[in-house]
């Protein structure tokens, strides 16, 4: 497939894998997100983080989700004929994401089927996993996305 061509439903068969990251997480980013959306001490202050269950200055779980989203857009979504996501089946915050962590992982296609109600649209079920630099899983998630089928006139290209 040429590099400049968009990914369509046909390119996302079950088992297809897209890499996520690497993304290093700085203390400044953690604090900046937390000040706006999740101003709890363990997301704002190193010492408060160390004294919390999380064990260090830790990213808000919502920040981890947002960082995963950015890894998805950078890896494949911006070059996918995507029409948005109706939701997220689950997100599990398995381990704290701490300042200095480097996250990477992958999105794996679990299932892909054509929409019965919307011709030309497919529903692709994705599973995402992020791990830290020690190989520990920090986040797991699954969600469906809507992806357009390849237009008939370009099916041969």
């Amino acid at each position: 497939m040429p590099k400049d061509e968009f990914l369509h439903f046909e390119d996302m068969s079950p088992g297809t894998v897209f890499p996520l990251g690497p993304k290093s997480v700085s203390a400044d980013e953690i604090i900046s997100f937390a000040m706006e959306f999740d101003p709890q001490p363990m997301h704002l202050d190193e010492e408060a983080g160390r004294n919390s269950i999380l064990g260090g200055l830790a990213a808000s779980g919502w920040h981890s989700c947002a960082m995963m989203m950015r890894m998805m857009t950078d890896s494949y979504l911006l070059r996918t004929a995507a029409e948005g996501a109706p939701g997220v089946d689950f997100v599990k915050w398995r381990k704290p994401v701490l300042a200095g962590d480097v996250l990477q992982g992958e999105t794996r296609v679990l299932d892909a089927r054509e929409s019965k109600s919307r011709p030309g649209i497919g529903i692709v079920s994705l599973r995402h996993e992020l791990r830290n630099q020690n190989g520990e899983t920090v986040l797991e998630s699954e969600n469906p996305v809507m992806v357009r089928l390849r237009p008939a006139e370009t099916a041969q290209s």
């Binding site: 363990m42 919502w62 989203m69 911006l78 109706p86 689950f90």
Partner: protein, 162 residues
């Protein structure tokens, strides 16, 4: 363990409203979700959403912002009344998050949470798991987002004051 009646199953708490400005939508999208319908009003017009709209993660993270603001108000009230406060801990995650409608630039979104229940956590004595269902609605009252989440919570001990 003293469980405040604010945490009885079925208790619904309104968390207030938040206006999503175009500027804030674009700022969030630049950092975390640079898809064109979140970045540029002109380009968004011919997208599937038909206009500039917030990243679903922006809508979700704003729930947390208002949830914490509401907790802070409740905490102040409890303090003024001399009641002991529960302590909140981390969350193991959420499920069943649905984005029903886009949140467009200028929309005011109203959030709420409903307590589903609490149960003691065997692995961490003193802590419980609090289960919540949350909603976001637009100014017409239409649902734009919902999800089910959980968080650790430590209710004050009856003997704390001894």
């Amino acid at each position: 363990m003293i469980i405040d009646q604010a945490f009885e199953p079925g208790t619904r708490q309104e968390l207030g409203g938040h206006v999503f400005t175009a500027e804030a939508i674009i700022d969030f999208a630049r950092q975390f979700d640079p898809q064109r319908f979140h970045l540029d009003a002109e380009s968004a017009k011919d997208s599937v959403f038909g206009g500039l709209c917030a990243s679903g993660w922006h809508t979700a993270a704003t729930w947390m912002k208002l949830n914490l603001a509401s907790n802070a108000i409740e905490a102040k009230k409890a303090q003024d009344e001399g009641r002991a406060l529960p302590e909140f801990g981390p969350s193991p995650g959420f499920r069943n998050l649905r984005w029903f409608k886009p949140v467009y630039a200028g929309d005011e979104i109203f959030y709420s949470r409903t307590i589903r229940g609490t149960r003691p956590l065997a692995s961490r004595p003193g802590w419980s798991i609090l289960e919540l269902s949350s909603e976001a609605r637009d100014s017409q009252g239409e649902l734009v987002m919902s999800f089910d989440s959980a968080a650790l919570i430590r209710f004050p001990e009856a003997a704390d004051t001894e």
